[in-house]
């Protein structure tokens, strides 16, 4: 079974994401910020990461940079979510190592499409 790390400071969003992704057969690990997420990655590197961009403690950008610098940190496919949709913002995330991007709020259909796009389902 593939493991997906869901990173978001909102427990509601984590719950929604968990329900959607479990439906696609993922085992879910949750983290409420970038720091917790890095700890989870050190323990076990996931196959996929659904990453919120604006978080306290360590935001999505800092997390992604740190992740990609870790041993095996290139393994997970990272789909990041944000409410910001300007091209510069997206380009910065892609440059930092994201694979796809989802605009919030998301639904099952769009998560499925984007996870398919990066070859996770």
């Amino acid at each position: 079974m593939k493991r997906c790390l869901v990173i978001d400071d909102s427990s509601v969003i984590r719950k929604v994401a968990r329900r959607i992704l479990e439906g696609f057969g993922f085992t879910i690990v949750e983290a409420a910020d970038g720091r917790q997420a890095l700890d989870a990655c050190v323990k076990e590197m996931p196959d996929a990461i659904l990453l919120d961009w604006n978080m306290p403690v360590m935001d999505g950008y800092e997390f992604l940079r740190a992740l990609r610098a870790m041993p095996h940190g290139d393994k997970p496919k990272v789909v990041f979510c944000t409410t910001e949709n300007d091209l510069a913002h997206i380009a910065r995330a892609m440059h930092a190592g994201a694979d796809e991007y989802i605009m919030k709020p998301f639904d099952k259909e769009i998560v499925e499409a984007k996870f398919q796009e990066v070859g996770l389902i």
Binding site: N85, I90, D99, E109, A113
Partner: protein
């Protein structure tokens, strides 16, 4: 509105566009035509129907018909047909047209343009391979409104989010406020024209690839068959037809057969059948064969 009024509208739609509106979708008449009635200054839907019944109301009937069309579309819809276009169809038709280096592609129900633009983006990303080729993408639809939107090439965040890989968004779109506009180089690759599939289209000429996706589903059996047979007439013998995920030729037309295991992809019956993978048994083009002899 009386049941007879609804029947009248259903008959108009069927005659003018082939659209069979099932009775359980009757609510669509109210939700779509009420705004149109208001726009045209009618006090009610009944008044609109009265105007439609008046002699010489052709333009209004067209307007109503177009207003009732279902235009949902998205970039790279269902993904697989576009992968097949790239990995199977394109190499085959390029081989067939190696002499003229000319390809003609037709999206026959293009809606707001996502389908032809998806093809254009695929072709653009294969620029090197296609150097020296003349490729035409003709995109047609019955609805003039969607054609205007298609030509403008402006999409919402929601529309670009569905189906469009992020790299393509970054490469081929520019941001206009909250919306996204497809780049001019992609827009220039597609020609949009008004066309009703119920009408004759033999003047369009011959195509190597025809996309006819998610439109036959709205037609009855006889209309599906008629449209498919006439598309067969416009398709080159070694050409390809691509249908929507819920559509098939089976039981409708003998002029097409499924292309091996490629779902949704069809070739002409009696046309050139797809070649086996082994190069050794692939027939050589006439000129080359002669040279070998």
């Amino acid at each position: 509105m009386t049941p007879a009024d609804y029947d009248f509208i259903r008959k108009v739609l069927k005659e003018r566009s082939g659209y069979v509106l099932l009775p359980d979708k009757q609510y669509l008449i109210d939700s779509r035509l009420n705004p149109l009635a208001r726009e045209l200054g009618c006090a009610s839907l009944m008044e609109l129907v009265q105007k439609m019944r008046a002699p010489g109301a052709t333009a209004l009937l067209d307007r109503v018909t177009e207003t009732m069309t279902i235009n949902e579309s998205f970039f790279f819809r269902d993904k697989i047909p576009f992968d097949r276009f790239k990995d199977t169809i394109l190499p085959a038709v390029m081989e067939a047209r190696a002499n003229t280096r000319r390809l003609r592609i037709w999206c026959s129900a293009c809606s707001t343009g996502q389908e032809p633009y998806s093809l254009a983006m695929i072709l653009r990303s294969m620029k090197e391979k296609l150097a020296g080729w003349n490729i035409e993408i003709l995109a047609t639809d019955i609805s003039r409104d969607v054609l205007e939107r298609a030509k403008a090439g402006i999409y919402t965040q929601f529309e670009v989010q569905r189906g469009l890989p992020i790299q393509m968004l970054m490469q081929f779109f520019e941001q206009v406020g909250e919306q996204w506009r497809i780049s001019e180089e992609i827009r220039r690759m597609v020609q949009f024209r008004h066309l009703n599939l119920i009408d004759r289209f033999s003047l369009l000429g011959t195509f190597d690839v025809v996309f006819c996706r998610n439109v036959l589903i709205y037609f009855d059996h006889a209309t599906k068959t008629d449209v498919l047979e006439r598309i067969a007439q416009q398709l080159a013998p070694e050409g390809y037809l691509v249908l929507g995920a819920a559509e098939t030729v089976v039981g409708l037309s003998e002029s097409f057969k499924p292309h091996m295991d490629k779902r949704g992809v069809y070739v002409r019956t009696g046309g050139v059948s797809p070649k086996p993978a082994l190069a050794a048994v692939s027939p050589l083009p006439a000129a080359a064969a002669k040279a070998v002899v």
